[in-house]
C-alpha cells in the first residue's frame, strides 16, 4: 500500500478525522459524560432548538439530527442535551492546529472535524508517511477519538479516515482508486445536502453508482457540482490544498466584574475591547475587516457573532457603532461574564490627510502613549484607568461604576 502511494508520484495527504467533533470536545471538558447519550443542539431560541449532532449512545435511544430538542425530553429523557459553546470549540481547534504544525507546515482545516495535512517533504523526519501519521495521532487527545486516513488526495484521505478505527491509520493507495472508492456512500461527498438528497432520489447511493454514469449526465443535472462529484467518484480530486496560515490570533478579552446581561454593561466591555485591539502594534496602520464578537455566559455556554465590515475600518467610533448594533442582535440567554473580540481579517488602510489642527492632538496622544509605555514597563501594567459607568442604577454599589485600563485613543480627532 505504501509503495502504491510512493509509486503514484502524488503527494501524500493525511486526514485527521474526529467524528462528532463538538460532542467529543464537550466530553474532553467533562469526562463524566464519557459513554453517556449526548445530543448537541443549535443556537436557536429555547423553544425552537433542534438537534444538530448526537453520539451513538443517543442514536440508540432514538435521537436523530433535525429533531426538536423539546421532543427529546419525552422520547429519551436520559439523553443530555448540550448547548453549543462556539468560543470553546474555536479555542480548542486553534490549539489542535497549533500542535499539528509541529509535524507539517501545510495544514488545511476542513469541515465536520476533518483536518488535512500535506505530508510531502517530510522524508527527512519520517521514513514513511504512515510514521508521520502516527506522530500526528499522538498530538491529539485520545478522548477526542481521532483516526487518520492516508491517501493521495484530500477526498480519498477523508474516505480512508472514515474507514479507520479509532486511534488507527487507514491507507488508501493511489492505484485503482476508483475501485476502492466504489462502495463509499455519497454522504461523504463535499456537496450540499440537497444534492445528496436528489442523488438518492435517482437511486444513486454509492460513488460506484456515480462513476458508472457519464459526466455529461451529472453535469446536466447538477452543473459544476455534478462534474466535481463525478471526478471524485472516479478518484480524481482536483481541489487545491489551501494551507491555513499559522497566525497568532488577534484576540482581546475582558472579564466583567459581575456577570451581567445588561446592554450598557456589555457595551462598556465592547468599548474596551475595541480600544485595546486598535492599540495593538500588529494593527498599527491597519484596518479591521472581519471580526468575531464572543460572549461567554456564566454557565459556560457562549454565543458569538461574525461581523463582516465594509472595507478596512480603523475609526473607533464607527467600530463602536457597528458593534453596538450587532450586540443588540445577539440573543443572550443568561448573564455574561466575559467578552472577547477577535480580528479574523485585517488589511492596510489608506492614509488620509490630517487637518493641521490635529497635529497638536496627535503629538499629545503620542506623548500619552509613551507615558503609558513607560509606566507599563516600570510596574508591569499601566496604573492608569478610565472610570466607566456600568449599571448606575444598580442597588449593589460595586456594580455601578468600573475601572478599565486606560488605552490612549487612536482616533485622530480625540
Amino acid at each position: 500500500m505504501l509503495d502504491h502511494l510512493a509509486a503514484s508520484g502524488r503527494r501524500p495527504v493525511a486526514c485527521i478525522l474526529i467524528p462528532h467533533y463538538e460532542i467529543r470536545l464537550e466530553v474532553l471538558r467533562n469526562p463524566v459524560w464519557e459513554g453517556l447519550p449526548l445530543a448537541l443542539t443549535d443556537l436557536a431560541g429555547e423553544s425552537r432548538r433542534r438537534i444538530v449532532d448526537h453520539n451513538a449512545e443517543a442514536a440508540a435511544q432514538g435521537v436523530r439530527v433535525g429533531m426538536h430538542a423539546r421532543e427529546i425530553a419525552g422520547l429519551a429523557p436520559e439523553v443530555t442535551l448540550l448547548t453549543p459553546d462556539p468560543l470553546y470549540y474555536a479555542a480548542q481547534s486553534t490549539s489542535i492546529l497549533g500542535r499539528l504544525y509541529e509535524i507539517s507546515p501545510r495544514i488545511e482545516a476542513g469541515q465536520s472535524g476533518a483536518t488535512y495535512i500535506d505530508l510531502h517533504g517530510l522524508k527527512r523526519h519520517y521514513a514513511r508517511p504512515v510514521d508521520a501519521c502516527q506522530a500526528l495521532l499522538g498530538l491529539v487527545d485520545p478522548v477526542l477519538r481521532p483516526r487518520i486516513g492516508l491517501s493521495v488526495s484530500k477526498f480519498a484521505a477523508l474516505v480512508a479516515a472514515h474507514r479507520a478505527e479509532v486511534g488507527q491509520v487507514r491507507q488508501l493507495g493511489g492505484k485503482n482508486l476508483q475501485r476502492k472508492l466504489a462502495g463509499c456512500s455519497i454522504d461523504l461527498l463535499p456537496v450540499e445536502p440537497k444534492i445528496k438528497e436528489r442523488l438518492r432520489r435517482f437511486d444513486l447511493h454509492t460513488l460506484g453508482d456515480l462513476a458508472g454514469l457519464s459526466s455529461s449526465a451529472l453535469l446536466a443535472q447538477f452543473g459544476t457540482d455534478g462534474q466535481r462529484i463525478w471526478e471524485l467518484a472516479r478518484g480524481e480530486d482536483h481541489a487545491p490544498f489551501i494551507p491555513t496560515e499559522p497566525v497568532e490570533p488577534l484576540i482581546e478579552r475582558v472579564a466583567l466584574p459581575e456577570a451581567s446581561a445588561l446592554y450598557p454593561t456589555l457595551l462598556s466591555g465592547v468599548y474596551q475591547l475595541i480600544a485595546r485591539l486598535l492599540a495593538r502594534p500588529e494593527l498599527r496602520g491597519r484596518g479591521l475587516r472581519k471580526l468575531r464578537l464572543g460572549l461567554r455566559l456564566e454557565d459556560q455556554r457562549s454565543v458569538e457573532q461574525m461581523i463582516d465590515l465594509k472595507g478596512a475600518i480603523r475609526d473607533e467610533r464607527r467600530l463602536m457603532a457597528i458593534l453596538a448594533h450587532r450586540l443588540q442582535q445577539i440573543q443572550i440567554e443568561g448573564p455574561v461574564d466575559e467578552l472577547l473580540l477577535e480580528v479574523l481579517e485585517e488589511s492596510p488602510i489608506h492614509a488620509r490627510q490630517q487637518a493641521l489642527t490635529a497635529t497638536r492632538r496627535l503629538r499629545e496622544r503620542e506623548q500619552m502613549q509613551e507615558a503609558v509605555r513607560e509606566l507599563t514597563s516600570r510596574y508591569g501594567r499601566s496604573p492608569l484607568y478610565h472610570v466607566v459607568e456600568i449599571e448606575r442604577w444598580s442597588s449593589i454599589p460595586e456594580r455601578r461604576w468600573g475601572l478599565i485600563p486606560f488605552v490612549p485613543s487612536t482616533r485622530p480627532d480625540h
Binding site: 466583567l256 466584574p257 462598556s268 460595586e398 468600573g402
Partner: protein, 87 residues
C-alpha cells in the same frame, strides 16, 4: 481579577464588627482603632440575584461612630461576614 478585567469601583472591604444579639453593629475595628457605634442612622436590606447560584442578600447600616465618623457597613446574610462600603 486579572489585568483584562473591568475592575469594580467601590468594592466592599472586609470589616471586623462586634454585633448585638439582634444583629446590629455595636463596635467596629477600623484602621487599627476600636470604635463603638454611637447610633444607627438608617437600616436597609438588599436582596438581588435570587435566581442565580450565589444570590445577594445584605443588610446595610448607616452608623455614626464614637469619633463622629459616618460609615456605611453591611452584613452578608448568607455568610454572616461584615463589610464596609460607601453607598
Amino acid at each position: 481579577m486579572g489585568p483584562d478585567s473591568i475592575r469594580s469601583l467601590n468594592a466592599p472591604r472586609p470589616l471586623a464588627v462586634q454585633a448585638t444579639d439582634r444583629g446590629a453593629p455595636r463596635a467596629v475595628r477600623l484602621r487599627g482603632h476600636h470604635l463603638t457605634v454611637k447610633r444607627i442612622l438608617d437600616v436597609w436590606r438588599i436582596d438581588n440575584d435570587w435566581w442565580r447560584p450565589q444570590p445577594i442578600s445584605r443588610r446595610y447600616f448607616l452608623v455614626e461612630l464614637n469619633n463622629g465618623l459616618l460609615q456605611t457597613l453591611y452584613q452578608d446574610l448568607a455568610s454572616g461576614a461584615w463589610f464596609m462600603q460607601h453607598y
